[in-house]
């Protein structure tokens, strides 16, 4: 019976977390349009539902009913596989994110879908598989724009993945564990114990690298709308296009969630007296604050040229993160003695 309740409870957690994530992804599109509009002195979607709140549903239905065009000469299997390869790694990363402190249901203790002791490595491994999806989409479309866009995107993603991975090594040194739950627990103690105060440089480089990872402005050369039509997903239509869109936003939510867990204390409330809100609400607030920052950046900065982008990733971010690791290791050594 133990195994039965375990399976049931895990399925329940998966359903809830996935449901929340997919709903967030859908409403992230709405939030981006609204926030960007307010920054640009206009209103954004207002017609569908009150204040445009049903807009994502209308968008989803529209994409669902669109014709599915496969270009002639495209490799059909890989063409169909690429969107899946983009979306699934983004969603699968949520399996190890601790969304709440310990609570128990049906005799099982919950709080995270599964607490892998190599949780962080698991997430980065799957993010790299996401890069495959991009290259395959660009190549399988049998089109110049897609190929160039796909190659650019792949180059950008693997360059900034290095910076991303290196910037969290500092956090690992401080919490001595790869498990995200242990990292959250190591930041126990309120606002002033969060990792962002001990690792400010790492936080900044993490945010910059994650903006580049998810192909967002100012690093969105691969999907530069006015230059490459739509980059690597030029030839996609209907539901497959929706998958790429979902994948981009799911990736954004995943990196924001990770930033909240690694640097901003995860599900912990900043001050003791704010404990009446449950843990997942705090995680949501922190994640959405970072997502607002993503949209804010999109509304402010012009696009970075591709060679400037690569120069920045390799010649600035990586040395800075390496220096951060050096300083953090020296600091930890001195602190422990």
């Amino acid at each position: 019976m133990e195994i039965g309740t375990l399976i049931l409870v895990t399925l329940f957690q998966i359903a809830v977390v996935l449901g929340v994530v997919l709903l967030s992804v859908a409403y992230m599109t709405y939030a981006e349009r609204k926030v960007l509009s307010f920054m640009q002195d206009r209103l954004g979607p207002m017609e569908v539902g009150p204040y445009g709140l049903l807009q994502p549903i209308a968008d989803g239905l529209k994409l669902f009913f669109k014709e599915d065009i496969v270009p002639a000469g495209a490799n059909k299997i890989i063409f169909a596989l690429a969107p899946i390869l983009c979306l699934i790694p983004a969603l699968i990363g949520f399996a190890v994110v601790p969304y709440n402190g310990e609570y128990s249901l049906l005799g099982q203790s919950l709080g995270v879908i599964t607490d892998l002791n190599v949780g962080l490595l698991y997430i980065f491994a799957f993010a790299s598989v996401g890069a495959y999806g991009v290259i395959l989409a660009g190549w399988a479309s049998n089109s110049k724009y897609s190929l160039l866009g796909g190659l650019r995107s792949a180059a950008q993603v693997i360059s900034y993945e290095l910076a991303l991975g290196l910037s969290i090594v500092g956090v690992l040194l401080l919490s001595e564990s790869l498990s995200l739950k242990q990292i959250t627990v190591a930041q126990d103690g309120g606002f002033w114990h969060w990792n962002v105060w001990l690792q400010p440089v790492a936080f900044v480089t993490y945010v910059i690298a994650s903006v580049a990872e998810t192909n967002r402005l100012p690093f969105d050369m691969p999907e530069a709308e006015s230059e490459l039509v739509a980059g690597f997903f030029t030839e996609y239509s209907g539901m497959r296009f929706a998958f790429f869109f979902l994948a981009e936003y799911a990736n954004m939510i995943l990196v924001s969630c990770l930033a909240s867990v690694l640097f901003l204390g995860g599900y912990e409330a900043p001050f003791e007296f704010l404990n009446f809100l449950p843990g997942f609400v705090w995680l949501a607030i922190k994640t959405w604050a970072l997502l607002f920052f993503f949209i804010w950046i999109r509304g402010t900065f012009p696009r970075v040229r591709f060679d400037q982008l690569m120069a920045f990733g390799w010649k600035v971010l990586i040395p800075v993160t390496l220096a951060n690791i050096l300083v953090t290791s020296i600091g930890v050594y001195i602190y422990n003695n």
Binding site: D41, W296, T300, F301
Partner: protein, 206 residues
């Protein structure tokens, strides 16, 4: 200071702050189908044919509007009013709104203030044949938007004094000179001048 600016790129923060404050300023969107613009009086909307106070059609079928139209979208077929051999009217009047450019030349050309432009600009239809306006449709528009049409003519100084009879309002149109009965039905060459005014002095020898 320069070093801090180079390392931390502080001008980025300035940009971010500006965009953030811009979020709370009022928007400038006009939410169209729920809120519409205030249309001024001289606005050149869709055409309409007007009538006199007693219901007689103003249009005399002179085809000056057809001649003036740069898009050739008006067609007039005129005929005698049955029972009054010297008075004419437009038996058929077709105006193709889908070709119209709303320039207003036809309303300027009309000598009897029959054509006026209303404030209507929402002309979408599902069947393109509905965009060929015939006489009934134009007179119906004129009846529905009578005040708008009159205001248009007043605003453009095209009125001839018969729009608001008794109110003594503007009379800006050229009037054909009245026929002089004493001269046997011939019109004077210029309004207001008589034979004495046009007499020339005898040439006198120095």
């Amino acid at each position: 200071m320069g070093l801090i600016r180079t390392i931390f790129m502080t001008e980025l923060v300035k940009g971010l702050k500006l965009v953030f404050t811009q979020m709370f300023k009022p928007y400038c969107t006009l939410q169209y189908p729920h809120v519409k613009h205030e249309i001024p009086d001289g606005y050149r909307g869709v055409m309409s044919l007007l009538r006199y106070e007693d219901g007689t059609e103003r249009c005399v079928g002179c085809s000056l509007c057809e001649a003036a139209c740069p898009s050739n979208c008006i067609k007039v077929v005129s005929d005698e009013v049955p029972g009054q051999p010297l008075v004419r009217y437009a038996k058929e009047y077709y105006l193709d709104i889908s070709r119209c450019v709303f320039c207003g030349f036809c309303t300027e050309a009309c000598p009897v203030d029959a054509l006026a432009m209303t404030k209507v600009y929402e002309l979408s239809v599902y069947d393109r044949a509905e965009l060929m306006f015939d006489k009934e449709k134009l007179y119906a528009l004129g009846e529905q938007f009578l005040e708008d049409g009159k205001a248009f003519l007043m605003a453009h100084h095209m009125d001839d004094g018969t729009l608001y009879p008794g109110e003594g309002l503007g009379d800006n149109r050229y009037h054909f000179p009245p026929v002089d009965e004493s001269s046997g039905g011939h019109r004077p060459a210029v309004v207001g001048l008589t034979k004495e005014d046009t007499a020339v002095e005898e040439y006198a020898q120095p």
